[in-house]
Point group: C2
Chain length 517, copies 2
Amino acid sequence: MGKKAQFNLKVPKGTRDWDGKDMVIRDKIFQTITTVFKKHGAQTIDTPVFELKEILSGKYGEDSKLIYDLADQGGEITSLRYDLTVPFARYLAMNPQVQNIKRYHIAKVYRRDQPAMTKGRMREFYQCDFDIAGSYDPMLPDAEILRITTEILDNLDIGKYTIKLNHRKILDGLFAVCGVPEDKIRTISSAVDKLDKVSWEEVRKEMTEEKGLDGEVADRIGTYVVKKGGADLLSELEKDESLMSSESAKKGVEDLKLLFEYLDIFNVTPKVSFDLSLARGLDYYTGIIYEIVTEASAPPAKAAGAEGEKPKKKPKKINKDDPDADRSDDPTVGVGSIAAGGRYDELVGMFSSSAKGGIPCVGISFGVDRIFSIIKAKTEAQTVRNTEVDVYVIAFGMGKEFTGLVKERMKVCKELWDAGVKAEFSYKVKAKFQTQFKDAEKNGVPFAVIIGEDELAQGVVKIKEMGLPEGHPDKNGVVVKYEDMIPEVKKRIEQFNREREVIQGVEQATLVESKQE
Amino acid sequence: MGKKAQFNLKVPKGTRDWDGKDMVIRDKIFQTITTVFKKHGAQTIDTPVFELKEILSGKYGEDSKLIYDLADQGGEITSLRYDLTVPFARYLAMNPQVQNIKRYHIAKVYRRDQPAMTKGRMREFYQCDFDIAGSYDPMLPDAEILRITTEILDNLDIGKYTIKLNHRKILDGLFAVCGVPEDKIRTISSAVDKLDKVSWEEVRKEMTEEKGLDGEVADRIGTYVVKKGGADLLSELEKDESLMSSESAKKGVEDLKLLFEYLDIFNVTPKVSFDLSLARGLDYYTGIIYEIVTEASAPPAKAAGAEGEKPKKKPKKINKDDPDADRSDDPTVGVGSIAAGGRYDELVGMFSSSAKGGIPCVGISFGVDRIFSIIKAKTEAQTVRNTEVDVYVIAFGMGKEFTGLVKERMKVCKELWDAGVKAEFSYKVKAKFQTQFKDAEKNGVPFAVIIGEDELAQGVVKIKEMGLPEGHPDKNGVVVKYEDMIPEVKKRIEQFNREREVIQGVEQATLVESKQE
């Protein structure tokens, strides 16, 4: 001990510490999200941060190279989790007694990627997943997932957002009907998925020149994937005899029709855009797929190829597997989607040894870091307190004889703590009055309990609400009997919090109204 | 996709999934602990799960071999964190603007150890740390840490417990005065630390035979380390001229005298046992050290070497670095201490490049897994609900014409969710009444809102409190107008929760009384 080593004093690349205001904001986001999950009957499970490597193998396609491995120190070969979905599927397969569950999981995941901190692309980042597992009647859990999504985004006050919705079966049918060879469906699908970032011309070029698709086939696809709408678009597709000749597309359209009926009841439809260009990368989706974009996360107009202008830099391969996975170097892209997911009925079965197969699932993953960036930008001007202390206990006195009354301050604190009041005192024995007062102000503590020799002799203390304006009758504090201190302090804190809630309530009401426009 | 791989369907050795009742209990423990931390003005910080390997190097002595390394996949060499203290010290050194902070951190740590699940010894486990960093007047933060500890253990209702307390400076002085050579102090200290597990004879043998200490020196140590007490023992030591000839011991005794004065004010003294045999392994402690043991965690009488009986198996080297680190194979040892810590004034300085040196710190680490085991054993007979749902929406109807009223159930749910009520409905379209009812019962949902064709036609619903005894006037539910449903449901939930709180309140009051005996 004592010897000073030569340290590289930093955190690993692509990771960060969370503290202060950032931490408070992030906690509040988690709390808001968790509250909604619990309102819908969800429970949480917690899985290890590392899994056997073979559990993760073959689930992430090309991105498997981004998996963090632990060193082989003898024993099992393990890797840090890449997402929360595969561990959940592994959990379900391992626990056959769990045939249905609504589970949420908020935890860190790991990707050995080129970090880009300014864009919020990290090697360690939080995901926040909610999934409903179980064999149920069609579209009922799917509808509730989307309802939960709107509740969360509304409660977070995230601003305007759109749920882009599509169905894997419609896409599969569409590609088949247009004449895409079976073995090209995945790669063509991933080209289509870029339509939110680049123009149709670019995508067509990729399909034909890079991926060798017949030009006529590409053009037929082009007539479909530009389509966006709601239930009206579904009716249009239903009348499309060519498309309806595909059993797969027919089934997908039926699903979405039912889904829209349910979404109407849940008042979610106004947020939904049925978008035939949404494909999403992950292989394991089998039903509806969705992605939530906000205005803040939309790419600038240029990138959309508006006015025939081509983006300056062609995006590299974009992995759309999850809301955090905008792995593109394209600087024209915004923060991307803030949540995404879909139905995956076969993933659990991949782990399950039973002949019966796995459990159907539908889920969503919220990109907490992106949501954090949006919320933080909105609260930039606001003061956020790092602690929740309600009372700072201060001794008043001056001159050389002033002892600092440390034991008396401790006694008052002890009584406040006993009564459940959040309280602090200065760790200085001979603390100056002004210093204590400034400590309380600096931390934004709303109340001070002030004690002095005279007051103690008279059996009274002073309760002072901090930051009252000049001229306020209570500006200099209110003197109360020592034995009334606890109820008086509690009364005032409750009053203070109620008033603060009213202010927040007004904001909330405004938000609700604007939603109902 | 679709192909079934040959998986080893398990979690890595020494890790586990947390779900169901266990998860609910653990969450409640975290919540209780966090509430107390916040009451004392703490904020939380979050550090990455892995650190640069060089940051961890040289901090854990022999146990460094237990550190998990990440594979070298190109780039930095990193390791999973071993505890939360070293990352906190690294954070403080990296953020010189933070000169004082009360911080808590609840997170997983990793040790590549031989797991012993039945004893709660895992490779991945939670630690829950609270530390006060800053240059303050002596013993003020130290006293508050111990006060926080009692509040947490009392609120957790952990049962009877003792805070074993000692001071590194007293120990150092004591060893010097007894004649232990400077270079043997650490190893003799660690032998002494085993006195809670084995007899003095065993420890003496280890000192003299294994570690080559002079027999007379050992015997002199023996006269001290059997001593336990409170402020009285301090007075006794003060009168010991030989011991007081050591500046170090003198300073330690002064510290503890002041600490006891403060602990009296905070009503912590009754829980404290000043115990000269407590040494604790970690090198970095510089002031007071403490360890909390419960009755549940005490070793059986035999192991204490009572009645001259020797323990059958000699404990191997025991690492007492932290509350979770009972790494002994000794089956006679209980769950060990449930929390431990101390003052470490020089650790931050090890990372800090400034000539000024680091920040003094004092902290405690709670062994959540051990606390979990104790709480779980106490709640074995209790039913713990996995979810927090308050209302299950049920359709009533029979016969072939019964549609299941799924859209009506969804509409009711939507209105309950809009009003902030935690509610669920069955994901079956033609759900049978009895099945829905059983679903609600199975999940312990306290209320059902029942709708039927007739009721809907009349504009009413039925609110039923589940589990009312036969003969109760509301046994069959209460019919209310549809427009009164929300306020009626909310009123009943509030009433239900109030009654439940009263019951818990009585238990709490009993606990508080028994503490004041």
